[in-house]
C-alpha cells in the first residue's frame, strides 16, 4: 500500500458495485485503485442468491458469456408455509430457457474474483487484505483514504463498502441505522452431485431453480426462506428482520431456525445426503427508497449496498443488479467530471440524476410502499396459514359427507376476516 500516494479514484470495497465502477473507470482511462479488506474479492461477500442480468447487460456487453455463473433459473417456486402444511406455486416458462437468460444463481467467492480479473485487465489496480480505516479531508471535501496506516489521496472516493458502510457513516451522509431498516440472513451451502440436483429438482442440464418461502418458518417474524440451486451446491437460507428478531426475545437462535427449516418435509428430501460446506451470515437493507443515504458528497460517491440499493418485493429479491448498474453510473459520472475537470458536489450530483433516470431508482420508487407493506405480521402468520388450511379443508375427504366448496370457502373467509384484513386488501393497490 505504501508505494501508492495519489490516484485519480479510490474505490472502497471490491464487491459488485466497486468492481463495476473500477471496470468502467479503468476502461475510460482513469487511474483507479480498489481497496478490499478480504483476502481476495468475494471473500467477504454473501448472496442468496441470484443475479438478474437483463437490467445490467447493456452496461457490460461483452463479458457475461464467460462469467462463472452457476445455473440459469428456469423454475420459480413460491411456498407458503404453515405448521405441518404448505402451498406451493411453481412457475416455469420457455422464456426462462431462451438466451440470453433471464437470471442466474451465483456464488460470490467464485464470481467476484473473475470480475476483479476483468477490471484488472482494463487497468484497475485491486489491492486486497487492506481495510480502509478513515477518510482524508481537505477544505471540507473528502480527499482520500487511510488504509493500513497509509494515506492515499484521490480526486474522488467511491464508497462501495457494503450494507454496513463505515465510509457513509464517516462522511455523515446516512441516517442512524435503524433495526427496522435491516434484516439478517443466514445461509448454508450444501454440496450435492450435479446430477442429483438436476434429478431432484427436475432440471435439464445447466438449468436451475429458485424457491422463496414465507410463513411459519420465521415464527411470525418479518422474513422468509430461500433455496437456490448452484452447479453442484445448494444455497439454503433464512432471512429475518432485525427489529422482529430483537422483539423475539432471549432464548431464540437464528441458526436453529435454519435447522428447523432444513428439517421441513418441503426441504429435507431436496438436501438429503448433502454435505454442508459453509455457514454464512450477512445483513440486507430492507428500508427501500426512504433509507437511501445521500448518494454523493464532496469528493464522494456511494454505490451498491452502501447506498442501500436493495429491493425485496416478497416475490423477488434484488440488489446485485442495482450494485452493478450504480457502479457503472458512478464511473460515468466521474469520467464526465474529469472532462470538465470539476469534482465539485454539483458536478458529482449528476450521479443521482443518472440513478433516477435508470431502472435503479425507478424500481425503488415504484416499490417505495413495499417496506411498509412487508412489515405487516399477517403476511407471515395469518395469510399463509389461511391459505394452507383452507386448501387442506377443500382437499380433505373424511368420514362425514363432504360439504359444498362455497360453504367451506365462506367459513374460511369468515374465520380469517377482521377489520385489519380490509385495510390490507386496500394496501395491495398501493404496491
Amino acid at each position: 500500500m505504501a508505494e501508492v500516494e495519489r490516484v485519480e479514484v479510490v474505490i472502497v470495497g471490491a464487491g459488485l458495485a466497486g468492481l463495476a465502477c473500477a471496470y468502467h473507470l479503468a476502461d475510460g482511462g482513469i487511474e483507479t485503485l480498489v481497496v478490499e479488506r478480504g483476502d481476495f474479492p468475494g471473500s467477504k461477500n454473501v448472496t442468496g442468491g441470484r443475479l438478474y442480468l437483463h437490467p445490467v447487460r447493456r452496461f457490460f456487453p461483452p463479458i457475461w458469456e464467460e462469467a462463472p455463473l452457476e445455473r440459469h433459473v428456469t423454475k420459480e417456486r413460491l411456498i407458503a408455509m404453515e405448521e405441518g402444511s404448505s402451498v406451493t406455486i411453481e412457475l416455469t416458462s420457455e422464456r426462462f430457457r431462451e438466451k440470453p437468460y433471464h437470471s442466474h444463481t451465483i456464488l460470490r467467492a467464485k464470481f467476484d474474483p473473475w470480475f476483479a480479473e476483468k477490471a484488472t485487465e482494463k487497468g484497475a489496480l485491486i489491492v486486497p487484505k487492506n481495510r480502509v480505516d478513515d477518510l482524508l479531508w481537505q477544505g471540507g471535501k473528502v480527499s482520500g483514504i487511510v488504509a493500513s496506516g497509509a494515506k492515499i489521496h484521490a480526486d474522488v472516493v467511491v464508497a462501495a463498502d457494503g450494507a454496513l458502510s463505515f465510509v457513509v457513516e464517516k462522511a455523515g451522509l446516512g441516517k442512524k441505522r435503524e433495526p427496522q431498516d435491516y434484516a439478517v440472513g443466514v445461509k448454508e451451502v450444501i454440496e450435492l452431485p450435479e446430477e442429483a440436483i438436476e434429478e431432484r429438482f427436475g432440471l435439464s442440464h445447466g438449468e436451475g431453480m429458485a424457491q422463496l418461502f414465507f410463513g411459519s418458518l420465521t415464527e411470525g417474524m418479518f422474513g422468509g426462506g430461500f433455496l437456490y440451486t448452484n452447479i453442484d451446491t445448494i444455497s439454503l437460507g433464512a432471512v429475518v428482520g432485525i427489529k422482529a428478531l430483537m422483539e423475539k426475545g432471549p432464548g431464540f437462535e437464528l441458526y436453529r431456525l435454519l435447522d428447523s427449516f432444513k428439517a421441513r418435509p418441503e426441504v429435507k428430501p431436496l438436501i438429503e445426503g448433502g454435505d454442508p460446506v459453509e455457514y454464512s451470515a450477512h445483513i440486507v437493507s430492507e428500508g427501500g427508497l426512504e433509507s437511501i443515504p445521500q448518494v454523493y458528497g464532496p469528493g464522494l460517491l456511494v454505490v451498491g449496498d452502501a447506498a442501500g440499493l436493495a429491493l425485496n418485493t416478497g416475490l423477488l429479491v434484488r440488489g446485485m443488479d442495482f450494485a452493478l448498474a450504480s457502479g457503472a453510473l458512478a464511473a460515468q459520472t466521474i469520467i464526465e467530471a474529469k472532462k470538465r475537470n470539476d469534482f465539485s458536489p454539483a458536478s458529482l450530483s449528476r450521479y443521482e440524476g443518472f440513478l433516477k433516470e435508470s431502472f435503479v431508482l425507478k424500481d425503488l420508487k415504484t416499490f417505495s410502499e413495499m417496506p411498509r407493506f412487508l412489515q405487516n405480521p399477517r403476511l407471515f402468520n395469518l395469510y399463509p396459514q389461511a391459505l394452507a388450511e383452507g386448501l387442506e379443508r377443500l382437499m380433505w375427504i373424511g368420514e362425514e359427507p363432504k360439504e359444498k366448496i362455497s360453504t367451506t370457502l365462506w367459513r374460511e373467509v369468515r374465520r380469517v376476516f377482521r377489520p385489519s384484513v380490509m385495510g390490507d386488501l386496500l394496501k395491495i393497490w398501493k404496491i
Binding site: 471473500s43 481495510r131 454496513l164
Partner: protein, 93 residues
C-alpha cells in the same frame, strides 16, 4: 442431516484469526443502559455469551462480520471490521 451445533457450523468456515478483537464492549454502559442484551441472541454466530458473573464474553474469532449486533445494540458496542486479511474468508459466498 442432524442438527449441527453453532460450533460445528462455524467449523465449516475458514477463519484467519487476528490476535486482537475487532469488537469492544463498554461493560459499564452495557450494564447501565441495556437490560435486554440483544447481542446474546441476535448474533447468528453466537459470538456473545454471558459469564457466570454476568459479564458479556465475546468470541470474536467466530464472528461472521454481518454487523447485526451493532445495529441491535444502541448502548455499548464498538464494532469494526477485522483488520485487512483477517476474519472469515468465504469460499462459496
Amino acid at each position: 442431516m442432524e442438527n449441527m451445533s453453532i460450533d460445528a457450523k462455524l467449523a465449516l468456515d475458514a477463519f484467519k484469526i487476528d490476535e486482537e478483537s475487532h469488537i469492544q464492549i463498554d461493560e459499564a454502559r452495557c450494564k447501565e443502559r441495556c437490560q435486554t442484551r440483544y447481542c446474546l441472541y441476535v448474533c447468528p454466530a453466537q459470538v456473545y455469551t454471558l459469564s457466570p458473573e454476568g459479564e458479556i464474553l465475546i468470541r470474536y474469532e467466530g464472528c461472521l462480520e454481518c454487523g447485526t449486533c451493532t445495529i441491535a445494540c444502541d448502548a455499548a458496542l464498538a464494532w469494526n471490521y477485522p483488520r485487512g486479511g483477517f476474519g472469515v474468508q468465504y469460499r462459496f459466498g
